[in-house]
Symmetry: C2
DNA sequence: TACACGTCATGAGAATTTTGCTGGTTGAAG
DNA sequence: CTTCAACCAGCAAAATTCTCATGACGTGTA
């Protein structure tokens, strides 16, 4: 497994490089954005760890450039800033995960492994997008129109299922099977009530509503004014 | 799809038969246990719906006989009695699901479809067993030593994951990935605390303990005094 | 248009699950 | 054999999710 590390702080870089090598990864280290971009475009990496603050070319621009070249390597963003806005920007630029300094090495490792697992498994995307809503599966973050939306675990699973089936009507039974893992009708209205909560967060205040109810059938995720 | 219906009450039988035919199933109807067993052993069915109270041969014995012949057709038990003890007996005899009269036809249909889906998908079992614990996935019921154990949804998922990996040590990270769908360390002790709850229900009061902790590694499900 | 019926949205209260903490165990190193 | 740090059980408080009752809405019928 080859990892590209783009980090100008020598101390942090050494710490990460050492840890990853001990775990059996081959690590290439670039000290500035230009160098990093060059390496990313010329060598085949399984994942990249990119700092935001970099000399010559900043991390966000670097990631955008990589994505413009249609490269799908999973990218983990490192940053000293942990504000919501920074995370949103990072994930929008095309990052697959976001880690705030300082962090435990074990956490970086876990995330790299999670990303590599996902990306080698061709059937599993790391992000989903419908209309102006995008979802980062690893960090479980959802952004609509540049604004981060806080979802509860079940609300996230529900939206994920709707997004994976965007444009298709999904019945409440199907939703229950996939989101709740119930294989028979529990005779309650869990789905309806959770859809209501999700709508409050994802649709309320936006001009176009995404969650449509199809009477007697189920729900669809589709932009509609 | 061929369904075997074993039911002596003509009215109920007609009601079920009519409904299933309307849904496109081919239904064979036996009016007593002997007749039902004979049909079950001679024809290939995709599922069976069996009443408990039957002339000549009762439903439970019928199911046990079918299972002794190593037949794996999914069986739904119908019964007027809905006590916990009856359910336990039914599921222990080898039933895959249990429905108490009176029931809505839509519920019977949903359960038949769920069972057929599971059984045609060869990779998906409908029941799991380790030591004296058995788990019915469709009804989400767990029985240890003939005693039904009430589990919460998450406790059930956790036990299910442990049972699917019985004898193998599973790390807390793996448990989190599969049961909670967390792909990185949330830095909490959710797993530990849920294992504790599960132990209280599944191991407390029994001479052999099933859930073993393997220090520094994770947990195993394995019978041990 | 008015009515009846089934489906769906809504919100409050109950139940479950997670979090965060405390003190007790365990096992390795010296 | 002792010390220390990591790990774990156990519990209570906080957060999330489910349940249940009620009213709104849509659809077909007279």
């Amino acid at each position: 497994m080859r990892i590209l590390l783009v980090e100008d702080d020598q101390k942090i870089a050494a710490f990460i490089q050492k840890g990853l090598k001990a775990e059996g990864f081959a690590v290439d280290h670039a000290v500035d954005g230009e160098d990093g971009l060059h390496l990313a475009l010329s060598e085949p990496y399984d994942a990249a760890v990119v700092d935001i603050m970099l000399p010559k070319l900043d991390g966000l621009t670097l990631i955008e450039s990589i994505r413009q070249e249609r490269l799908k390597i999973p990218v983990i963003i490192l940053s000293a800033k942990g504000t919501v806005d920074d995370r949103v920007k990072g994930l929008q630029a095309g990052g697959d995960d976001y880690l705030t300094k300082p962090f435990a090495f074990s956490e970086l490792l876990a995330r790299i492994q999670a990303l590599i697992r996902r990306s080698t498994d061709q059937t599993e995307p790391t992000r989903l997008a419908v209309g102006d809503v995008s979802m980062t599966l690893i960090t479980r973050e959802v952004v609509r129109a540049g604004k981060q939306i806080e979802l509860q675990p079940l609300e996230f699973s529900l939206l994920e299922y709707l997004m994976r089936n965007a444009g298709r009507v999904v019945s409440k039974t199907m939703i229950m099977e996939h989101v709740w893992d119930y294989h028979f009708d529990p005779q309650t209205n869990v789905v309806e009530s959770r859809i209501y909560k999700l709508r409050e967060k994802i649709d309320k205040g936006f001009p176009t509503k995404l969650i449509q109810t199809v009477r007697g059938v189920g729900y669809v995720l589709k932009p509609k004014i």
